[in-house]
Point group: none
Chain length 190, copies 4
């Protein structure tokens, strides 16, 4: 039997891609990625047929990891503020812990490389957040607003918070809690 395609190698390439793309942008050559991953230039293409496929896979990988980080410990018992706080903290902490992925994600969002399907797959794991948002509005705990406003608000504010922390890490705790207070005051009802 021949060497089997290894998940380790696939993972190494994706990790290398995140690092390289974060530093040099999505235009970085695939050769830089394969080099960083410690594989031959051609090997990258046994795992990802094209650079665009790699980019899409990376997006999914990042979103999945993010979803894992955000959803673990998500309590259905907590009240809306508690749920939101959990999401907020885990999202921001993920960004702190994975700076390369955070940067890449920002570039991927505005790139034209993602397929419609990839975007859909990337959003799926966050369905529960949507549900929470809807319920919060219905229960009157937060303002009467379309859910897309709700989720955009959290996303935008969390992203901004991560960037502030990235440029001034010593203030992480302050930025994170302050950010949450702003968000919560902004959306809560009354």
């Amino acid at each position: 039997m021949a060497r089997l395609r290894s998940d380790d190698k696939r993972e190494a390439i994706l990790t290398a891609a995140a690092g390289v793309f974060a530093e040099r942008g999505l235009a970085a050559p695939t050769s830089a990625i394969s080099k960083a991953a410690g594989v031959a230039e051609g090997s990258l293409f046994t795992y990802f047929p094209t650079k665009d496929d790699l980019i899409n896979a990376l997006y999914r990988e990042i979103k999945l990891g993010l979803a894992g980080a955000m959803m673990s410990g998500f309590s259905r018992q907590a009240d809306v503020r508690g749920k939101l706080r959990h999401i907020w903290d885990s999202y921001v902490n993920w960004g702190i812990a994975h700076p390369a992925q955070r940067k890449v994600l920002a570039q991927l969002q505005v790139s034209d490389k993602l397929t419609r399907e990839t975007r859909a797959v990337g959003s799926a794991p966050f369905a529960e957040v949507q549900v929470m948002a809807r319920q919060a509005v219905e229960q009157g705990v937060v303002r009467d607003m379309p859910i897309e406003v709700f989720t955009s608000t959290i996303d935008a504010m969390a992203t901004a918070t991560m960037e502030l922390i990235a440029s001034n890490p010593s203030q992480a705790d302050k930025y994170r809690s302050l950010g949450f207070e702003v968000v919560w005051s902004g959306i809560r009802n009354g």
Copy 2:
């Protein structure tokens, strides 16, 4: 004074660049830009020695236009909420009116092409916003927070609002005023 012919050409190139970059990303070839601008491929380089210079110039141009739109009609007499509302509306309206520039700006922000100087120059015209922010905090009208949090909040929320409007233009008025309410409630004191 009448504009020189070459100023027109420079302008045409910048406008074309905004359109092409918005559609095809910053990796779009300079030849596509010169073509869209109606000038020869080589002519682009008499106005911008390198592609990166063009990109930096475009950033400045966009930021300057944005500053113009935001600052015109800015009243020093108005109260903090009034000033903020003006800034908010003019920022969001600018985004609606200049979709290509808005998209390009989003890409430029996360790119690694901008020089430190360019970023500084781009921020300068918004100094007055900073002043207002500082005063608002000092007067206790808004929460006690570092100004970078203040400005990041507005920027992030306005950007998110523009994107919502872009994907659902019929709800522009609703999104804009709702967004402002969220922001204001989020940052005001008490």
Copy 3:
């Protein structure tokens, strides 16, 4: 004696190669051939050390098969015209029956992949045709001409006939007999 399993595999590869080369040209990747043959990519190289070796082996195989088809039923008793008719018909019929091999052969002839030895080996089984040609000339049955003219004439005309039949199969019988008349009238003496 039963064929060894590996002989089957070798045969499968050669057959697959004929089909793939006929469709996609000699530049077709070896991976396409191994796939068509139902063997692993690497296995091809246990039977043929290099792609060129495979190509040369395929040429020999095709020529050998062709020789078998042409020489079976070849009568030493028949007169020159009869012998020639037999060769002609069996050659043309082989082309009709083996379209892929015919196409590949045409490509191989003009390629630079065949070794001198391969070409020699490929010609050998047709020695008897050469003998017949020589005798025919000596006996004065056909024109006084160098044998290479004799064989080239038959080869060229038969090939042309096969191509006509390939592009218009319903006229096969007509093309074949007409072609023979042209050839025979062309070379016979007086």
Copy 4:
């Protein structure tokens, strides 16, 4: 004004392509061609957008040159044999004078790179030969045969003759006239 695209350069590339393809096959790298033509690798692509375009252009060029050689001096007054002799001689002589083009043509004929349109364009200039063939048949000067048989016969025999001459140039005159005798005897009526 910039340097204008020069026909000379285009011609140089086509000539180089003929030489390189003749020696190394159609799989020869474009870099070898640009080098042989004395231009930069990229320049080839300002004249021919893709390698396939170059190949198709080369085919047309060769066929056009061949048509020019064959049709010049073609007399409508001559009898059928005379016309045919002219075509035969000029065709064979062209092959002798342009060995690289002859070899390339042989490879192009069996390649899958030529578009339907290219093949059509390549055949067009030989319409007059078709006309002659048809008339010859109608007048009963040659056998009753479909024209495609007529033209295929001439083409196949002339090609074979050129190859014989190529491998034994000293016998050129003999091969050429002998070939013609074979063809004429083969197709004439009675």
